[in-house]
Amino acid sequence: MAGQEQQQPQSRDTEVDEDVPAAPPAPAEGQASAATQGVDDLLDEIDGVLESNAEEFVRAFVQKGGQ
């Protein structure tokens, strides 16, 4: 939030006019390959972190009731 403190929070209508970049909701082609690379790196890292035997681990996670 730092650096934006002088900006007034916008109501919906003005926000749409001023703040939303014209970019389409999905990443453009050029950005997409960089983004995909980032996701691949992330998934590689997480592969090494995930508990082995997913099915058994998830099945064994049984909780007693709570609030």
Binding site: Q8, V39, E51, A54, V58, Q63, G66
Partner: protein, 550 residues
């Protein structure tokens, strides 16, 4: 901030006395079938050992149950004890019998470390940061100290995750005990849910019916900004899919006293833990536990602002048709395009409904002056800015929202796996990603892996969260409670939200110091007292206006 001034906080915006409660999921992979209450007690015990190392004399204190009133209903009556579910009787200390204790602890360890003077196992601690750490049925629970604003709510809630982590590390280092994992989530996907609650202080003069009418549409849709995301549909997760909220499928009624069965959107438990004719404590049970700081901040900030609207009589006049079904429909629609039917016949999306609340809250805050970026209360402006930015992104730039909105961050990771490995929603690996998202160990927890790569936003820096593990907030009575525990731990025999009880050597009887005003006992009011006294006796004498040595 001048929040320590008794008489109140700036009204109209996001400042309010508030706090969080987190029940952690608990699991010992190498000891399947281990008793959950025993394991939870081990967690509390482990943290007691950590604090004992940190503070000579012990930084742990027993909880005082005399002001717990779990059966008081905000609608104006009290449930008979005989009609209450056992889980509702939270005013009785949990009891562990000798056999159970022997199963959980080696006898030697128990004698060395596990018992307090009266011979009971420590199930309940008051921490130096003003929080409570205890065994709640079958889960370890951290209840944060009272804070005055959403940013501090995030900091002291995240501090609870570090408390839990310290206990997990301690247990992992003990070769005689199985390692225990803790998860900041809300369901095991096998029909059990456990809560993450919020508490907000309100004037008692606000009619409870106004709270119900004003909050219900907001709570039906609030999950789009702060849901934690869940793999699995229905209470037992038997239908494959992904939904916005961990909790939505576990809610069955609109208003009620229960928190463990027939869960209500609006909970009526009425234990103010404060001067009862002035305040009510609104106990919110519908939220998901959040690791995302931005989601947690918006959860507390937006809700506090909606309560300000309700207090001013300015809540949007909206009624959602069949709120419980609508809550679940919103959770099951990750496209955010489904419409809710209002009683006036309109059909609007969850985002539309959030915008209506946002605009009412923003107008009220601007009218009262608290929203000003420079001369406001220092918090409301930030909440409004983030609230509007998040709603805008959810409508038009979901990729941007994935660094702040927890359910979208998790979904984005899951979609990565689905695409790379061609997995459908029923695949166990996706269930594991969901579970391990919430592992509180930074090296194992997937939220923390994303945070380390700056894929999740930080609102509070790590040093501030670390400080909040040992330091109480300065601007509520939690300051007094926490300082009493860390300074005079050996002479404090009990504490609760609204009292601290001393047993000072040489004095004939226990001395109970009531703390029934949440905005007293602040650093501004009691810091000097703590600075002047290193010993409990003279400290109490000055505090209570007694002659020295009495």
């Amino acid at each position: 901030m001048t929040a320590g001034v008794p008489g109140g906080l700036p009204a109209g915006g996001a400042m309010r006395v508030m706090g969080s409660e987190t029940e952690y999921g608990i699991h010992a992979p190498s000891a399947p079938g281990a008793n959950a209450t025993m394991m939870s007690a081990r967690v509390i015990q482990a943290y007691a050992q950590v604090t004992r190392q940190r503070a000579a004399g012990g930084a742990e204190t027993r909880w005082d149950y005399t002001d717990e009133e779990p059966l008081h209903d905000a609608r104006g009556w009290t449930l008979e004890r005989s009609r209450a579910e056992p889980e509702q009787l939270t005013d009785q200390p949990p009891v562990l019998d000798a056999e159970a204790v022997a199963l959980a602890y080696g006898r030697q360890e128990l004698e060395a470390d596990g018992e307090d003077e009266s011979g009971t196992l420590l199930m309940n601690m008051v921490l130096g940061n003003g929080a409570r750490l205890y065994v709640d049925h079958a889960h370890p629970e951290y209840s944060s100290p009272e804070v005055t604003n959403p940013r501090d709510a995030v900091a002291w809630d995240a501090a609870g995750d570090l408390v839990a982590l310290a206990a997990v590390r301690r247990l992992a280092a003990d070769p005689d005990l199985p390692p225990i994992n803790l998860y900041k989530n809300n369901t095991d996907n096998k029909s059990v849910s456990y809560g993450s609650h919020e508490n907000y202080l309100m004037p008692r003069s606000v009619p409870f019916g106004d709270i119900v009418r004003g909050l219900t549409p907001f709570f039906v849709t609030r999950q789009v900004i702060c849901g934690a995301g869940r793999v699995g549909m229905k209470q037992d997760g038997s239908r494959p899919g992904y939904q916005i909220s961990q909790r939505a499928d576990f809610f069955e009624t609109e208003v009620g006293l229960e928190t463990t069965i027939r869960r209500p959107i609006i909970n009526t438990r009425d234990e103010p833990h404060a001067t009862a004719d002035k305040y009510r404590r609104l106990h919110v049970i519908i939220g998901d536990a959040n690791l995302s700081q931005a989601s947690n901040y918006l959860k507390f900030g937006s809700t506090a602002m909606v309560l300000s609207l309700i207090e001013a009589g300015l809540a949007p006049k909206i009624e959602v048709h069949e709120p419980v079904a609508a809550l679940q429909a919103v959770s099951h629609d990750t496209t955010l395009t489904a419409t809710l039917r209002l009683l006036d016949g309109r059909r609007i999306t969850a985002l539309d409904l959030q915008w209506i609340y946002f605009e009412a809250a923003a107008k009220h805050a601007q009218d009262t002056g608290v929203a000003d970026a420079v001369d406001g209360d220092g918090h409301t402006h930030g909440v409004l800015e983030r609230w509007s930015a998040t709603l805008t992104q959810l409508g038009s730039d979901r990729a941007a929202a994935a660094s702040s909105v927890e359910w979208l961050a998790k979904l984005s990771l899951l979609d990565g796996y689905r695409e790379r490995d061609g997995l459908d929603w029923g695949h166990a690996r996706l269930g594991l990603v969901d579970l391990q998202w919430a592992d509180i160990r930074p090296e194992k927890g997937l939220y923390y892996r994303l945070l380390a790569r700056d894929r999740m936003q930080r609102l509070v820096d790590d040093a501030a969260i670390q400080r909040a593990v040992t330091e109480p907030p300065s601007d509520t009575r939690a300051f007094f409670r926490g300082r009493c525990v860390s300074r005079f731990g050996a002479d404090v025999v009990g504490a609760s939200w609204d009292s601290v009880i001393f047993d000072v050597p040489g004095r004939g009887r226990l001395q109970r110091v009531p703390t029934r005003e949440p905005l007293r006992g602040t650093e501004a009011l009691t810091g000097g007292l703590f600075a002047r006294h290193r010993e409990a006796g003279p400290f109490l004498s000055e505090l209570l206006g007694l002659p020295p040595g009495s």
